[in-house]
């Protein structure tokens, strides 16, 4: 199975995993290991000056796992750009998972802000992976603006609803000139498999693993689901039909 390549960088795994909301950093590390991922997302936040806290980076083997800083909780292009610049300096890579959020309740993206921030950051040399809605036209505009991949949501962040608009994801994949990563909305392994069967080049998830009763077991389930979905996509599924087609020969049936 071929590797995932984004902006010339090769990833063995097509599963990108978050680092938030795990029961403990030790469980997070074990879940990352079980998922087989080689890219994880991280958030950029103020250092707690008043007390010493453990560093997240103590639990991520950055020799094996690539860090993808996000701009989560940014509601304007300006804030997202500022956060991306800080993430670049903290992480020493020019990659960013770009989020410009338009609504607190749904965490749906603000398309205008997202496109504006993409243009600015691409110009500054960033490898921009925008979190976008599942709109093929928006995905095309982002790719035209220089995004290295597009990351349409499967469902609202943390909702676990699964892929709400499979047909749009399929169209996005068919039309896109850059890798398509389904980002957000996955609830369980079958959702990840569906995303991959639709042709997605990868899946990004956090809550589905971190929030599972056994995050490490779910991480392994997701690894297998992403691989199974990818294989099924490459294998080429049979067409859907309304009526039965017998699998056993109709000749030689006894009593006829």
């Amino acid at each position: 199975m071929s590797a995932l390549v984004i902006a010339g960088r090769t990833f063995r795994s097509r599963l990108i995993v978050g680092t938030g909301k795990y029961p403990s950093p030790v469980i997070m590390r074990a879940a990352h290991e079980a998922s087989g991922t080689d890219m994880v997302t991280v958030a950029v936040r103020r250092v707690d000056i008043s007390r010493k806290t453990e560093s997240l980076l103590d639990y991520i083997d950055t020799a094996k796992i690539f860090l993808l800083p996000n701009t989560a909780a940014c509601y304007t292009a300006a804030d997202a750009i500022r956060t991306a610049r800080l993430g670049r300096e903290a992480g020493m890579s020019n990659w960013v998972k770009l989020e410009v959020i338009g609504d607190e309740q749904t965490l749906f993206p603000d398309n205008e802000g997202l496109l504006e921030a993409t243009r600015v950051l691409v110009k500054e040399g960033f490898v921009v992976l925008p979190y976008t809605n599942d709109d093929p036209v928006m995905c095309r505009k982002l790719a035209d603006a220089g995004a290295a991949a597009v990351m349409p949501l499967g469902a609202p962040i943390g909702s676990g609803l699964g892929i709400q608009n499979p047909n749009n994801i399929r169209i996005i994949r068919e039309q896109a000139t850059v890798p398509v990563i389904v980002d957000a909305g996955v609830g369980t392994a079958s959702d990840a498999a569906v995303a991959m069967e639709l042709g997605a080049d990868g899946v990004l998830m956090n809550t589905a693993i971190a929030g599972a009763q056994d995050p490490v077991a779910m991480a392994r389930a997701m690894k297998l689901a992403v691989e199974a979905g990818r294989l099924a996509y490459l294998a080429g599924r049979i067409p859907k039909k309304s009526y039965a087609t017998a699998s056993s020969p109709l000749q030689g049936v006894i009593g006829t």
Partner: protein
């Protein structure tokens, strides 16, 4: 002098460099990023960038996220 550090007013003796501030706060410079008056300070410029009275400083690091 008083600066605004991560949104809160803080009295420190200065002016001082970004390096000196991080040292005073016991923060590992390798794992953070610093903004001085909304402009990112490159790590190579920590020694030469001077924080003055009234400046706004942001010190960020990576935390768990999706």
């Amino acid at each position: 002098m008083t600066i605004r550090l991560n949104g809160d007013p803080r009295k420190i003796s200065g002016p001082l460099s970004v390096s000196a501030l991080l040292q005073q706060l016991e923060i590992d410079a390798r794992r953070v990023a610093v903004e001085l008056n909304t402009a990112v300070v490159k790590k190579a410029a920590y020694d030469s960038s001077v924080i003055k009275d009234g400046d706004e400083v942001e010190i960020v690091n990576f935390v768990g996220g999706g």
